[in-house]
């Protein structure tokens, strides 16, 4: 329902009031976006930028380190997302009830989400430390073999996944919880009358009713996982043997350590395509957004 004519006064006021935001938007989002695309077709190295066509993209397909980074990121994302999906739902199901201490438990679930990834990484570096770490102390205490954790090529990525799940579980719980509270209690009462137990109600009522919420959780955790960088940079630097390097970690390495900014931009474009694809799915399934 748009008015037939816009008031000239309103139009002027609108653009004027939008201008501070638009200046920032253009300078720090729109223009850099275009430049990212442009750089990806050049050999930009902070000084000169020559057009090289699709050479960076061809190189990406042959770069074993980027291949590892892409694969690691996918593994990281798939496992993180499925664990967050399940654990977030289960904790929300338990905490969607009023009992003594429920507020405290919700808070306990959520505090890691408020904590910085830097701090979380530091805490887990301490826990995972081979010599003085708490985890190995406990393992030794119960007579088990201590582990190399972050130094074990077969284990390091899963340690990082664990850190990610630990930090974000409360966020997923919160979103599920808010979804659960919009479900009509009459549905549960009807099911109870029909003889459905608590588990059956969870599977046959809560789960289907939460489909839009679940999809949202899926998309946000997926996008978030594809942007993984901080814990890698702080905890492992991509080691051992590139088993924990990720797409964004490679962007940082190539761009800011080796100053191959053209090549790094090609990686950034790949990341953008992946993230936008997921976001588009999320947007299309959520018609209430505009």
């Amino acid at each position: 329902m748009q008015p037939a004519r816009y008031r000239a006064q309103d139009t002027r006021a609108a653009w004027l009031m939008l201008s501070p935001f638009l200046v920032f938007f253009v300078l720090f989002i729109a223009y850099p976006m275009v430049m990212s695309l442009y750089y990806s077709f050049t050999d930009y190295n902070l000084n000169t930028a020559n057009f090289v066509g699709v050479r960076n993209y061809v190189r990406l397909t042959r770069d074993p380190v980027f291949g590892m980074a892409f694969q690691n990121t996918c593994v990281y994302a798939l496992i993180s997302v499925s664990m967050l999906f399940v654990l977030g739902f289960l904790t929300a199901a338990v905490l969607n009830r009023s009992f003594r201490g429920v507020a405290g438990l919700r808070m306990l679930m959520l505090y890691p989400y408020a904590t910085s990834m830097t701090a979380v990484s530091m805490i887990f570096l301490m826990l995972f430390d081979v010599n003085s770490g708490v985890l190995n102390k406990i393992l030794r205490g119960i007579g088990a073999q201590p582990s190399n954790w972050l130094f074990d090529p077969g284990l390091a990525l899963y340690c990082l996944i664990f850190v990610n799940v630990w930090k974000n579980i409360g966020y997923c719980m919160l979103i599920y919880l808010s979804g659960m509270q919009t479900i009509d209690p009459a549905l549960y009462e009807a099911a109870t009358v029909d003889g459905a137990g608590e588990g059956a109600r969870l599977i046959h009522i809560t789960l289907p009713m939460l489909r839009p919420v679940a999809l949202f959780v899926l998309i946000t955790t997926m996008v978030d996982a594809f942007k993984t960088f901080e814990q890698v940079q702080i905890m492992t630097r991509g080691d051992p043997l590139y088993t924990t390097t990720t797409i964004v970690h490679q962007i940082y390495q190539q761009g800011f350590s080796d100053f191959r900014m053209g090549y790094a931009s090609a990686m950034a474009v790949v990341l953008l395509v992946v993230v936008m694809a997921f976001s588009a799915v999320g947007l299309r399934s959520n018609p209430s957004h505009v």
Partner: protein, 291 residues
């Protein structure tokens, strides 16, 4: 009320289910609390205790001196000052700018409004990691105020990209859409311009949405690691998060000091989280359900 009555007639299989839930929740609670407890424990231990073979849950003789030692390891007042200034500027500037834009998108009819809003929506989905390099090189080439590296390694370079976030625009728009349109009509009758209507009617009523946005923005800025890592170097502009990672770069890691510093760095966040949890949660949910 209704639930209470049902409780008396709880079915046996439900009772078993409740027990499964209780055990599950207990395990989750231990999992979540464990790292926090261990951070505090280690922050109060001596290094020999930390390297001892056996596991200790609570420190025998709490070493509060670890905290002073940690805060004397580096110029921490400066790091806190830097993080506080950056967060404060970001907060004030982005709240005002986002609220004004949110008001326009919610209330003023003009050509291209829908299209523009769509562009902003898509812009919000672009990960900052994708534009990291161009933003850096752009700031570096901005040498108007002198310096060979432009705005790189300056307060402006650190702060400006934070202000650009458009999340707040959506939050404010969402909130202003719930206001009655009659407010604007009445304001116009009284001869108010659009900006005056925003300034004198909408802004004073923005408390709740500002509280949520401020808490989220503060947490985001205070906790940011990647951008300061890229755009600053040396001590002068070091933020608390960057300073934390410095403990790791030394030869031997003093875990007790590192854990003490980690806790101190996050204390402002925990205070906000504790006392403004309602706004924190509301902001997260507003961003999720309808953004």
């Amino acid at each position: 009320m209704y639930n209470d009555r049902k409780q008396s007639a709880i079915r046996p299989d439900d009772r078993a289910f409740r027990w499964v839930q209780r055990v599950f929740m207990l395990l989750m609670a231990l999992l979540m609390a464990g790292p926090l407890v261990m951070m505090i424990t280690v922050s109060l231990q001596t290094m020999p205790e930390i390297y001892a073979a056996e596991f200790t849950l609570l420190p025998k003789d709490p070493q509060w001196g670890n905290y002073t030692a940690a805060m004397n390891n580096g110029n921490w007042p400066l790091y806190f000052k830097n993080s506080a200034i950056v967060s404060a500027i970001t907060l004030v500037a982005s709240l005002f700018i986002n609220a004004m834009a949110g008001y326009v998108f919610a209330r003023i009819q003009f050509r291209f409004r829908q299209a523009l809003f769509m562009v902003v929506l898509i812009g919000m989905m672009i990960p900052p990691q994708v534009t990291l390099i161009p933003v850096f090189t752009m700031l570096r080439s901005f040498t108007l105020f002198g310096g060979r590296t432009g705005l790189v390694n300056t307060y402006w370079g650190l702060v400006l990209p934070y202000i650009a976030g458009s999340f707040g625009v959506f939050l404010c728009r969402q909130y202003y859409l719930t206001f009655p349109v009659e407010l604007d009509d009445a304001a116009r009758m009284d001869g108010c311009s659009r900006f005056q209507a925003f300034r004198h009617i909408y802004l004073p009523l923005s408390g709740p949405v500002f509280a949520s946005l401020a808490v989220l923005k503060f947490a985001g800025t205070w906790n940011e690691y990647t951008w300061p890592l890229v755009v600053t170097s040396g001590e002068r502009l070091k933020t608390v998060q960057l300073a934390l990672t410095a403990f790791r770069n030394e030869g031997e890691i003093f875990w007790n000091q590192l854990m003490a510093a980690t806790l101190v760095v996050e204390i402002p966040i925990y205070i906000v989280f504790l006392f403004a949890q309602k706004h924190f949660v509301k902001g997260l949910l507003m961003g999720s359900v309808k953004a």
